[in-house]
Amino acid sequence: MSTSKSQAESFKALVNWLREAIREPEQFNLSYAAESSAFVRFNHAKVRQAGQVQQASVGFKLINDGRHADLDITLAGDPEVDVQRLAEGLQQLRETLPLLPQDPYLLLNHNGWQSKNVQEHPLPDTEHVVAEITQAAEGLDLVGFYAAGPISRGFASSSGAFGWHQANSFNFDFSLFHDNGQAVKASYAGHDWSSEGFAKRFALAREQLAFLGRPLRTLAPGQYRAYLAPAALEEIMGMLGWGGFSAQSIASKTSPLQKLYAGDSAFSPQVSIDEKVSGSLSPAFSGEGYPRSDLGLIVEGRAGAQMVSSRSAAEYGLSANGAGGGEMPSALNMAAGTLPEAEILKQLDTGLYISNLWYLNYSDQPGARMTGMTRFATFWVENGEIQAPVSTMRFDDSAYSLLGSQLEALTEERELLLSASTYSQRATASALLPGALISKLTLTL
């Protein structure tokens, strides 16, 4: 039996047990998350640390008489043990609910929706991948991380909803370091490991490494023309996504985009951003039991939809649209522009080519003013030609400037960036983004 099938069957068995165990008028939501992951960490082009992690858990919500509580339970993978744990969890939640007041913001989805998405591309043997990586990196200072394996997500409710999502994937996120400490960052990720595809990606990174050997240019604080590559723009979008589109954050005035949603500020009309679940790598349903919709979050520079969880829907009189509890986008899709990739340096003329940004945070959140660092392969460009790598610099600018008044162009080509995050579990988030040409970027330190 395949991993997917056996996990789906195990989850169904738990759901069936729960359907029998609950007593009217109790209701439940049960979400499921599992992964079996190979993790290999590289330093100096050798394996620094290697391991394998097998984990599975359910998120169990019990509802009765307008009261509800959530319990995450790690599963053991043994059907008897797992039913036992679920039974103990049911008991704990039954004892908890009478202690709680009724929740005025409880909103359940009574729709018995069904969703299934299974992708079982065979993954390469880890030893084979490690051999390819170490061979390609021979003589280079490579540091990076390979994560691979199946990921499963499930959802079921007492109303008959059932969702199943399973995908095999790998993500090799790596950097190549020059002797002078400068580095280029790259990743090779997806479902099908292709030796040819990897070699091509690696060669591209190796080519960029050559530029990093030139003498380092130190810039003075000031304002510069700049090109932000898609990976750099992803850092800005990631910051804005942290509460920016959240219905609760917008209503409670903690969203960095509150001026946008209030209609007091706008981005450039070139900026259109969707949460595009369809065709993305993330599940088509949320952990709280709503099918996720495609949403136009920013439409030609103006505020569009918000990310609305069921709780926010009940509290603010909105329609739930499948956002999770944190109301963050996980399948961002930014509209392409008109600047061809081949024209980037020419259009930039003189300024900074920034491959990556790092460690962003807010200088003034209500104004969406953010600061952060350049990191990896940042170049000084003169008359459309790369001159030198640039020492690490700090920027401090409002998003309304970077993506508004100072945004000259977005690139025609976009890059699909798959999240390499592995906090608690391997992420399924992705972003499809263009690069951005900015007429003024403020460097402060």
Partner: protein, 480 residues
Amino acid sequence: MFDFHPQLKQRFAALRTGAEFFSLRYVRESGQYLSVRKNVAEPPSLSRDEGAMLTVRVNGVEAYAATNDLSQQGLQSALDRAEQQARRLKPHALLDLREQAVSSDRADYFSPNLDQPFPSLSDCYQLLGAESASVPKDERLVNWQVSIGITNVEQIYLNSAGAELRQAQRFVYPGLDVTAYDGSDSQTRSLGRENFGQQGGADVISRCGLMGAGPQVADQALQLLLAPNTPQGPRDLLLMPDQMMLQIHESIGHPLELDRILGDERNYAGTSFVKAEDFGHLQYGSKLLNVTFDPDIPEQLASYSHDDDGTAASKQFLIKEGLLLRPLGGALSQFRAGMNGVANSRACGWNRPPIDRMANLNIEPGDQPLEQLIGNIEHGIMMSTNRSWSIDDARNKFQFGCEWAQLIENGELKGVVKNPNYRAISAQFWKSLSAVGDADTVKVLGTPNCGKGEPNQVIRVGHASPACVFSNVDVFGGDA
């Protein structure tokens, strides 16, 4: 407590392997997060988690396998997977650990007041509800939330050299925040939350000062709405402990992590401006700077007897009178670098391997009361409670922001200013340390949210610090 220990020992004893060394780290964790937002109780978020990590060493190569299956077969299968991986990846291994010593210690460690029951769920909700209701009615107060997070952790470490280490700990995180909005700007003031976590029981809630804090926190949020922006320019900077913890964390803690200096983190968390050869030579800060790794303050978040590799922990000076002495490196990093370190090899759970982490990283108190610190400042600013942090990957150029600030003129605290930020460079900043507060200004703080590592790990760290003064720092406000 430790009710799984006899069974686990039995199963560990029955494991079979060709490895020259192996260990098992079992972790059971239960959590409870309760909150009341705008006088409405949110549903409790509860958790139960358990699993084990098996680590093997075969011909000097280590590998791990973490499993949620704690049966004899499940543990054996994980051990086999780890052993197979160690054998297969040997040709590509960076390290040869054949000569690295292993622990055979046996000890138990308990959080303070662990035998005291924590207030019941009902009592907690009552407490949170009362505090939420104490926030005054004012249409500008648009959001507020009061919360308590509790995590109980039992860990058992066993290895083939006979080590047997048990830890039972309870971590408590009280928190309150209030947001005020005037139709254009919004300002949030908080207490606790990510800035305050300790080991213990109900005593932690008392020490945090949560009860009765609602009106004052709300009033400060409203004051911030009315306050002018922080003026731009150089000033002497008085940082209170709830900002010092972030300052220590980002610009002393991370740069001193030995695995960063050895290059492991260059692809993710970053590197360090500190080099291995700097230890014993580099004047990191002024003579007033004394920094310790201290696992012995019972209530501090990362106090323990042994780290997750089984190394006994003891207090060590990392920086003494400004001179850099010792890195934050556990047994493995010490072996690799041939340097002394501390017992800070830590994992965030059963499914992640130990790496060099901060634990309790503290600044030792000086001799000046707060009044004297303020009184000696001619043109300065006092900042407290971190709200924004950004630093480069070598942990050098930083910009940090706080919730609250008051100007200091001619030795006196003056008006409140909003959006206080400051920026500097670590390698120079600590040399500008001009005064250190006495023991009365020290607060024992900590955060559950330090991220690092591949695979990623978020872990709890403790920072105790007095209030400190830095000369001539570049400060500025908001106003986008």
